[in-house]
Symmetry: C2
Subunit: 447 residues, 2 copies
Amino acid sequence: MTMQRYRYNSLSPDERMGLARRPFAETESLIRTVSPIIEEVKRNGDDAVRKYSEKFDGVRPDPVGTDPENCSSVLPAEQSEALELAARNVFRFHREQVVPSLSVETMPGIECRKETRPIERVGLYIPGGTAPLPSTAIMLGIPATVAGCQTIVLATPPGENGEIPPSIAWVAKKIGAKTVVRAGGAQAIAAMAYGTETVPKVDKIFGPGNRYVTAAKMALQQSDAMVSIDLPAGPSEVLVIADSGADPRFIAADLLSQAEHGPDSQVVLAAIDGFNTDVLLNELELQTAALPRSAIARQALEESFVLEVGSPDEAIAFSNLYAPEHLILNTADAADLAEKVQHAGSVFIGPWTPESLGDYASGTNHTLPTYGYARMYSGVSLQSFQKSITFQTATSEGLWNLGPTVVTLAEMEGLQAHARAVSIRLEKLEAEVESSKKRVRNKRSGG
Amino acid sequence: MTMQRYRYNSLSPDERMGLARRPFAETESLIRTVSPIIEEVKRNGDDAVRKYSEKFDGVRPDPVGTDPENCSSVLPAEQSEALELAARNVFRFHREQVVPSLSVETMPGIECRKETRPIERVGLYIPGGTAPLPSTAIMLGIPATVAGCQTIVLATPPGENGEIPPSIAWVAKKIGAKTVVRAGGAQAIAAMAYGTETVPKVDKIFGPGNRYVTAAKMALQQSDAMVSIDLPAGPSEVLVIADSGADPRFIAADLLSQAEHGPDSQVVLAAIDGFNTDVLLNELELQTAALPRSAIARQALEESFVLEVGSPDEAIAFSNLYAPEHLILNTADAADLAEKVQHAGSVFIGPWTPESLGDYASGTNHTLPTYGYARMYSGVSLQSFQKSITFQTATSEGLWNLGPTVVTLAEMEGLQAHARAVSIRLEKLEAEVESSKKRVRNKRSGG
């Protein structure tokens, strides 16, 4: 197996930056490609979804949206038990992400609060392809139930028989989805964004997908559909940091578990001096040969690289530049090293934590920022299914304390009506004080 | 003053939905307008920023980006004290939004964590216009400092003398901004997104602005600039709910404090039976006449409407359909009513809490979702300046417990290399168990 090899301390800052850069993705032309599909679904609803499903997937789903109860979800016990355990761990981790209401008295008489509310209607897209992906349905569906989203819509491409896979239907029932959309691609995304005769309109769309799905999400998030999206998505990635104590067979298996996703998967190994890269490359060769998806993995690996580094700190420095979706720390000091991670989607610590654990069942979410977006985006979490609202209450005393400051600031900004909304209230308070003083005086002189 | 008037229970669901809909904003053509500016700033840096600043604002800033120490920030004591108090309240409320690290043992030997990290480099856009807006600089800058963002860049259009207003410079110094960008419009947004000779490239751009600024943010968030944005922005809005106990003079002042923002400001009054709308309309006339921005306010009010409702619950039902940026509850049961709010940016409870308090100094953030986006977006908060990373650590026992489930799920999804990354580790554990058994047997037979 050949992988490109670089030495960290022989590279200039610009060259390091270059290695951290992903291949350019052309979104504009993709958006132009999906726009007519979106427009047609907006206008013609289910008919348009059926038309494009037939064109791209060779099936005409009818009805497009249906109750999950109409879908077969029979699975071998081993499979349903595995899904059950994964769902339970994901539930446990996301349930603990509930943040209590916050209440702060910022000054006497001024109370500020922050509370969360569920996003009412959410659409979950589960890609199709060579095999169904029930794990993605769990990763999106379980947090939606924890958040308390009222309407969950789940879309996935149907098989040749027009039905969705039983494993996806199993999860749809588990999460109480209201509607299953038997369609994929831009047409399914558009159906959830605008709503159709059989598909409820949603407020936010989640889930990975091919570049047409991603382009549709991006186009819709700034359209008249009034819908937001979870993340900008790109090809999946892993960066592995290995030192002399790491088993090259484990490292090879971890690199391959990323490489098998697709020929455009990004795979990087930061090998700390002492790690035996030659043994690794040999292992990669052996393990690749045994894979059903070896051609895909081989293509991905040929675009990937090994970066030789002199220390764990150099490795982390590059990782923070690269901002990987997945970061595996297979080093003696992995737990300490994790503290230095500034930008990553999810981190896998120590020799017994392959990325696969998080992909399926450790409890963390596998919907993560790719393409370097871990610099500024979080992966999907409970918070992705909620929004927060702030509340404030001023007592008359609070307004008395804070009002004059607000009048000064509003006048600085030339917004007299803003100032007036405060001063008209201060005047009423003053008048009340005056009239009560008068009452006291009258009482005194009278009594 | 004339305002359109409707009666809630005479409207069909479709008509209610129609009232809740905002005027359509054409983003696509705006994006086409700003694209050449963005491209030129990407290519030519500061020169392009200067060119467009001269074209649109009549000034040629040189240098474009500068240290805040080079900007005059002398203010009258009353003004700097007001800014200081506002900053302190905003700091207090946002500091309490810090969420501690989360650690959950989802099953024996599997630890999952969620931690936050600051977004490293942030760009804050402060619009210009008739007067500087130091309050917006506080609302964006203070949370950035609480989050620990390393590089804060602040952009605002310069005055005729090429300098930024002293009040903005005052805040820039207060928040430790690294660079002040003396430019506005799409050219300033592009400068922060790509970086120029004097402007550091940022990871996320915050702040309101005119439609060209908004279009530039939207175009850049899905470009090769690798930048995210805070919120889709639109014209500012308020929905006021008033009952018979509400003082019509307060209500008029509150409606006007929104209406003075611009002719496209959205102003809605939900008047519960018993509230005297005729007195209100008269008050509106009187107060409008006294405003310096009366022409703007009058235009906005003519596009606005009063919705007559039979009860607080009807009012909240419409408010949740409308999803206002600002919601003022001026009713006897305001605190209870607040519990029923599902979709809003920020809520102002009771007679002594005008919106102006939150706009400037209560402590809540005034950067809020407009246009109905409160259904799925939160306002700016501490979390807007952070992202979260998940971590997981499996012990060998943890992998032993969870591994077989992951193998089953990976095989269901046809991802053999994912399964292999687990099974290769399980085999090593088995081998270790076997060899330790052997050692025990050998010891027994030997000893």
